[in-house]
């Protein structure tokens, strides 16, 4: 079954003409057909286009890029010209953009085969994958559990062998968390590495697009092709893009920081803690030094993240007003009613929650929470900077828990947001991070870790990840 192969394995077979692109694509399409009714990873499957592209590539024969002929899926908040881009929202359920995100154009330029658009939490807000307007994404390891979000379909589709790779977007852990819940490899690159143009975000200062794959090497291969300066994104940076250069160098003598404050948290599930500690052992065996360090500012990250992301969302999502495109309410007698009903009907509960909270923060002038949050962000960044002078990476669990079951009652809203305790500091600081699985918990659900590094140091993350993956072996 060629869809079980990694990208690097596929590349060999394709290069040696041992497999046709059509065979590969058909294998994936079959998997989607067989399994996605259950998993709900896809919102749109572009079957005809995929087959057409596969045939064209087989005819052409020449492979212009490692990604040539490799089938992938795109999160549905990444604009794809002439293909529905819904953001899993009623607001945009019929929206067909007349432009493409730069990151999608890059993949097309590399002759990848587009399989379709992936399900997500509405407007990338939410962490479970259950807040899609269309259908909740289910965890391929156990369909009564969530896939994590917001890039739920991106993680689930790769885990379920419905895609060789996918693109997700990450604002506060939206790649890292679902990757961990679904046992796949997710990368949130340094802010400014992958163009934001055409990616429908909600908090621009925090957002990055990144690849989700089944192996670390595959991940580095995809990132190499989507990263790079884009003049359409003012925050896009010109930087070194050789992510593979250190991947085989091993880890002897490298230092890993483990934040004491997170270790002490009693919210971490026992199984998660066990797996996390197991990862220390693996890294030590690989020749690393693992030190427990203090990062007191981590305690501010959740609130700083929610303040900043919510306020940005209240502004960024203001454009969905029913005037020019997207959902417009059926009956209205004046403009105010048009706005209020359109946005009331078009957005789901989690999006509304975020917008209203953000609106509160924008009009709240007395305490100026936002100012405090921005200052906390600076403090946090300084703390990371200090750590990265001595340590190559910071190692944390991906989430305090494994994928929760649907319908599992959370005692309050905060508990749900505490799932993001390990991921939000990463976005606040714009640093790169890699999420990968360590082992399975007693219910057979994957448990993941997050490796984060200094700005622009994805190559070190891949180096750690690649060595770790080999030492860990098959996920048990």
């Amino acid at each position: 079954m060629p869809n079980r192969l990694s990208i690097s394995e596929c590349i060999k077979l394709l290069d040696n003409r041992e497999i046709k692109v059509t065979e590969l694509v058909n294998a994936y399409l079959r998997e989607i057909e067989n399994r996605d009714e259950e998993i709900n990873a896809f919102i749109t499957v572009t079957k005809d286009e995929a087959l057409e592209k596969a045939e064209e590539l087989d005819r052409k024969g020449k492979r212009i890029s490692p990604l040539s002929g490799i089938p992938g899926g795109i999160k549905d908040n990444i604009c794809t010209k002439n293909i529905n881009t819904t953001c899993a929202s009623k607001m945009l359920k019929d929206f067909v953009p007349k432009y493409s995100a730069t990151v999608y154009e890059r993949l097309l330029d590399n002759d990848f085969v587009m399989l379709g658009k992936l399900n997500m939490d509405e407007f990338a807000i939410g962490g479970g994958g259950e807040y899609s307007y269309f259908k909740p994404v289910k965890n391929p390891y156990n369909i009564s559990h969530m896939a994590g979000g917001s890039s739920s379909g991106s993680a689930a589709s790769v885990a379920a062998f419905e895609c060789a790779f996918s693109l997700g977007t990450d604002t506060g852990g939206s790649i890292l968390k679902p990757s961990s819940y679904c046992g796949v490899v997710g990368m949130k690159p340094t802010f400014g590495t992958v163009s934001r143009y055409g990616v429908v975000g909600f908090a621009p200062s925090l957002e990055q697009t990144g690849p989700i794959t089944r192996t670390v090497l595959d991940n580095a291969i995809v990132l190499s092709k989507i990263a790079g300066h884009d003049e359409k994104d003012p925050c896009s940076i010109k930087r070194d893009l050789d992510f593979l250069q250190d991947i085989d160098k091993g880890l002897k003598g490298l230092k890993i920081a483990v934040p004491k404050e997170l270790m002490d948290m009693d919210v971490i599930q026992r199984d998660v803690r066990k797996c996390y500690e197991k990862s220390f052992e693996i890294f030590k065996e690989l020749g690393c030094q693992v030190d427990v360090v203090s990062m007191p500012s981590l305690q501010y990250s959740l609130s700083a993240y929610y303040a900043i992301s919510s306020s940005e969302s209240a502004s960024t999502l203001a454009r969905y007003d029913g005037i020019r495109y997207g959902h417009r309410t059926k009956e209205y007698s004046n403009i105010e009613e048009l706005y209020e009903k359109t946005r009331g009907e078009g957005f789901g509960i989690d999006v509304k929650k975020r917008i209203l909270f953000g609106t509160f923060l924008l009009v709240e002038k007395e305490k100026n929470y936002l100012d405090k949050a921005r200052k906390a962000r600076t403090i946090l960044m300084n703390e990371y900077e200090r750590l990265f002078k001595e340590y190559s990476i910071v190692l944390t669990p991906a989430s305090p828990i494994t994928a929760p079951a649907f319908g599992e009652k959370q005692s309050n809203a905060l508990e749900k947001y505490y799932e993001d305790i390990f991921t939000t500091p990463i976005n606040l600081c714009g640093i790169p991070a890699l999420s990968m699985p360590v082992c399975k918990d007693s219910n057979g659900l994957p448990v993941g870790i997050i490796l984060s590094a200094r700005h622009y140091d994805e190559k070190t993350l891949y180096r750690f990840g690649h060595a770790f993956e080999a030492a860990r072996g098959i996920l048990k």
Partner: protein, 104 residues
């Protein structure tokens, strides 16, 4: 504009100490954000936002004297475009854009 009603609740998650919770005037926020909520949604959101606001106090524990806020982790500045025309060839809208008569 926003009614701050202070209410004390037990936060079962963060700590066991008593926290101040700000109950937001949701109806006013709805007006500002142009979102009409159903009664059910309003209840749920009211409850959740109250929890959110408890969290907002965290950064106040930090010593932020002499700290400049970060709005963007930007490694670039002065990113410009030359003043050259790029026409968008595709028809952007399906037809005229009509809204209810606006009285100014």
């Amino acid at each position: 504009m926003i009614n701050f009603a202070l209410k004390h609740i037990y936060d079962i998650f963060l700590t066991t100490k008593v926290l101040e919770v700000i109950i937001l005037d949701i109806t006013n926020l709805e007006k500002l954000a142009k979102i009409r909520l159903t009664e059910e949604e309003r209840k749920e959101i009211e409850k959740d936002l109250a929890y959110f606001t408890t969290m907002l106090e965290d950064p106040f524990k930090a010593d932020t004297s002499n700290v400049q806020g970060t709005t963007i982790v930007s490694h670039t500045e002065n990113v410009y475009r030359d003043d050259l025309v790029e026409d968008f060839e595709d028809l952007l809208f399906d037809g005229e854009i009509i809204v209810p008569r606006i009285v100014e």
